[in-house]
Amino acid sequence: MEKLFDMALLIMQGAAVTLEIFVITLALSLPLGGLAALGRLSSIRPLRYLMEFYVWIMRGTPLMLQLLFVYFALPMVGLMLPDIAAALLAFTLNYAAYFAEIFRAGIQAIPRGQFEAARVLGLPHWHTIKRIVFPQVLRIVLPPISNETINLVKDTSLIYILAMNDLLRVARTIVQREFDMTPFIIAGAFYLAMTAVLTWGFKRLEAYYGKYDA
């Protein structure tokens, strides 16, 4: 029993690393994704193409490759990043691209009539974006954002290849040392707990922003 407790304690330290990566990546990639979406919808053509290129690269190559690239290739050109910063950079760039696509679809789903109705009432453009468009976009993008966010929880486990002691790597280390599968089960329970909290949270958000549905 005590052994189990010690294992859980070690794994909890790994979970803290996982959580850190998760929270910071989410906090950075959501606003960045929003900006990239505006860039993709911009009337400035070079900006639009640049954002399309960025999204293509990030979605078109494995996240694992992107992690390795930031971790191993950037130091070769003289850009040394601390481990955690390298991981955060790769995760943020990758997830921002996915979020950008979700936001873009959300904005494009708002009927033109909404903009026109606001305009004939004399509402200024930025007020229309803030009060009329944004709440409706939020409603549309919540389910796919929820999906990606849950993916991120699990994708954080990829950093084990960067030799960082996240949840999965700690569990694996114990398994290899003790020849005991319990740590994997504990790690699985941690992932499930995190995704359960997220699922519940997003459900609440969806209910709140969907209260106007018939």
Partner: protein
Amino acid sequence: MASTMLELTNIHKAFGDNQVLRGIDLVVDKGEVLAVLGPSGSGKSTMLRCINHLETIDKGTIDIKGRRLVEDGVYVDEKTQHEILAATGMVFQQFNLFPHMTVLENLIEAPTYVKGLSRDEAVAIAVDLLKKVGLADRQDSYPARLSGGQQQRVAIARALAMQPDIMLFDEPTSALDPELTGEVLKTMRELAEEHMTMVVVTHEMAFAREASSRVIFMAGGVIVEENEPQEFFNNPKEERTRAFLRNML
């Protein structure tokens, strides 16, 4: 002597190679209810949308309440446009209510933000208007909970909440089931009886015949015929008008 509310002079508008309006001249006096008829593609909705600059005209001049919005295709500055267009209200075919706001919130958003009314003042106006369109009991409903006819009446109330001098209606009953058009038309008739100046693009011949003070018939981007409703329906002069009326009645 009726004062002029709206004057369009030689309006031209093209979408790419498609010349939609080919020289529209139109004067609407205060208190007039103008019905705009015509086959689809005749440019009637585009003309309406040009009046409040939802579409930008290529050529021509528009005056609203004696103020110039655009002269020979050149618009006045944005701020002045805003002031001039505050005299217009619009009702759309698809209602375009804000779905995430209650009926009351839909009605007070612009009066509080644009006109700077206090919430209490805006609510008082909104409640009066909802009574008028027969929806006083639905002020806390979200639009999705209302029938199409109710939504369109809310949309009319929302436009009226800004206290416009001219109301523009873009096929206000075309998206409605036949049994729901009556309630919207009734609201529009009441508005007409209060001498609101109205420009109504419509396929409702009965409304044009009974509630309008003048009818214009458009085809191919021009006004083909223009008359008082009785004369227009009983004694159409142009062959294109006669062909259209034969199909519609």
